[in-house]
Symmetry: C2
Subunit: 215 residues, 2 copies
């Protein structure tokens, strides 16, 4: 395949804010992470799922899906995933396991931008909250102009070489797009999706279950 596409689904978090492994919570008749894996699989040639090391034995999804243990940080987990992506992959996506509702169309949009020459492409949505900048005492020093701001989502697609090079340089960023940009890559933002929320709190999971029940 001339442009093989692999997705690393990062599901190795401990869920500190959630109070447990949110990625393995039931959502409809699957788990949260299975939704993320399912869409990734439909849009990629292969998927690497990074899971907590002690959960490694529990999941088998067939030979197109490779499981690997996570590291101590998000970037360590992505690095572990990247290590098992085949060398001939030309585009690598990184996707949060806890974003079950990213659509195939969104995967296609970010991949398309990389095929067309960007080093990376990520989904972003408008920032709707009013954002204030504060000093150390909590006094407001400015209202931030939101018009050119975007809240980043996943899946994030990268030219495989650019992502590998960025991670060779080494970095502990929580943000793959920043890693690639720091290494000199051009990363663009495409329109994200409102429902592509990250399941972070129990309230988010409730919302996701409601959404699935009404599908």
């Amino acid at each position: 395949m001339s442009m093989s596409v692999w997705t690393i689904v990062v599901a190795a978090g401990s869920g500190a804010r959630f109070g447990g492994l949110k990625q393995f919570e039931k959502l409809g008749d699957q788990r949260v992470v299975d939704w993320s894996i399912g869409t990734a699989l439909g849009s990629s040639d292969g998927v690497v799922v990074v899971v907590p090391a002690d959960a490694l034995a529990k999941s088998i999804l067939g030979e197109q899906v490779v499981f690997v243990g996570g590291g101590a940080s998000r970037s360590a987990s992505v690095r572990n995933g990247l290590a098992v992506v085949p060398h001939d992959a030309s585009i690598v996506l990184v996707h949060d396991g806890a974003r079950p509702f990213a659509t195939a169309a969104l995967f296609d949009r970010v991949v398309e931008m990389v095929r067309n020459g960007a080093d990376g492409a990520i989904p972003g949505v408008a920032v709707t909250d009013t954002i204030k900048r504060v000093d150390g005492d909590g006094t407001i020093t400015a209202t931030v102009d939101r018009s050119d701001l975007r809240a980043a989502q996943t899946p994030q697609a990268f030219r495989a070489e650019a992502l590998r090079a960025a991670y060779v340089i080494g970095s502990d960023a929580t943000d793959d797009a920043a890693v690639v940009a720091a290494a000199g890559g051009r990363v663009v933002v495409v329109d994200g999706e409102t429902d592509n929320r990250k399941i972070t709190t129990p309230a988010d999971l409730e919302w996701a279950r409601q959404r699935v029940a009404s599908l």
Copy 2:
């Protein structure tokens, strides 16, 4: 009363993003706006509710609550509300009708900061999304440092004189804190509340109903 406190509950929006008057949707055995009014009432000497002009006749809550019609913009609605706040009010709060879960403790926190000398005090929460700045082509130009950013909520409390003066100067800001700051006032941020979300989409209303059902 030496420091009389009035709250303007702004519920005059047309709900364009929601597709209807979200503030009058049922939430438990009340409407969304009744939650907002109820908490405001417990924390203030009086409440002005700004509603769409054609909804004016529908709501009666007793003599501590005054209803007034809204204007064409949020700032016009706040101005209409401010016009009927008694002249001896010393602190005026502005609160979104579509934030049903702000607590009495939150009202107290912002009022306390104004009693202690600030011209204004607003609740703010940490920005958890990764925020990117983009140029006109959608290329990422920077990752925004989130550490000194806060997403603004309501209720926002102001020294009555400072708020009146700011609105006399005239402004069409969507953001009362910005109006007061632009007029030279010192506005501070106190810790907001995660559950103090603004009901903006049908999914938000679903979440709010779930939350009420589990209370």
